[in-house]
Symmetry: C2
Subunit: 165 residues, 2 copies
DNA sequence: TATTGTTATACTCTATAACTATA
DNA sequence: TATAGTTATAGAGTATAACAATA
């Protein structure tokens, strides 16, 4: 039997933390896409944990916010704003309607569409959860300079505008 | 306490233009998580399009890079570095091995594990595709200042470090 | 013919758990 | 008893396609 030096040995810690692999990924760290992906996983995880306390997934809370901001929007418009397909919107709107956060309203002049409106409870819910998400994000960026944040927003928005060019 | 501008402050101004949904998401724009998610979709889409020309998905190319950088790593170590489960690594390693980009090598002293090594073809492939991904990213960030990029990296890495705290 | 909402289905990605062979 | 790799399965999440009602 040989003894085993095992320099790369890594104890399986249920957390799957990147700490022990700190420089195993130094090549990938050079890619902006890699850093965005890792940060995105953390942010979405925090937001998901915040939202699920009120029974939302990311898409359904985004939908509620959009409907609050744009009363009488249709499901097709909502699909476009969420960048998902119309078929996916049905389940989200079903859920929001079942919880009495929004209503589907018939439109005179075009009986194919629904005008989506938030209820009073929906608006109150939006305000409450909106603040919770904001607090969760503030914890993540605490300690960073204001100018770094705005620079990051600039970079992210620039990248988004470069889609499909 | 709040260091960021209130997104609700810029409701305002219809203006009656052709694109009705242009600022339909102005509330969500106030969330860093929303901007990261949208930018991430664009970046990952560009990277995916670049990689698939060489038959890679994001995870399989990341795996090839990691194996090139850390010869003789095991599948469990690779799983940890990729932040996925060991079961998912099997399919990725199967694919890379079938394409003769890496080899699974038996380890004397512990016959449970494989030592993963890139082949010469794997290293060449890594170099070629690495440059292609870098070019794709450079197109996305063209026009941005160097200091904005580094600030964005700082923000992203800070967020990642704040995971689960 | 085209569009809205809907339903059914498929596909991708990943996690969970059980199994084997080794330790 | 514990670990590495494997396999089978299931669950999100989303896309595709077909359909009825309406335009």
């Amino acid at each position: 039997m040989r003894s085993r030096p095992d320099p790369m040995a890594k104890i399986a810690d249920g957390g799957g933390n990147a700490d022990e692999n700190r420089d195993a990924d130094h090549s990938l760290r050079g890619f902006l896409g890699y850093n965005i992906k890792r940060a995105n996983l953390v942010v979405q995880g925090e937001i998901r944990a915040t939202l699920e306390k009120s029974g939302f997934r990311t898409a359904s809370f985004s939908a509620l916010v959009l409907i609050c901001d744009t009363p009488d929007m249709t499901q097709t418009q909502l699909a476009s704003a969420l960048s998902i397909e119309r078929s996916g919107v049905v389940l989200i709107v079903d859920d929001l309607e079942n919880r009495d956060l929004i209503t589907r309203n018939r439109v005179e002049g075009d009986r194919r569409t629904y005008a989506l409106r938030a209820t009073l409870a929906g608006i109150r819910m939006r305000d409450k959860v909106f603040a919770q998400v904001r607090d969760a994000e503030d914890r993540l960026i605490a300690g960073l300079g204001e100018d770094d944040i705005t620079a990051a927003q600039r970079v992210l928005n620039h990248i988004e505008k470069m889609a499909a060019k």
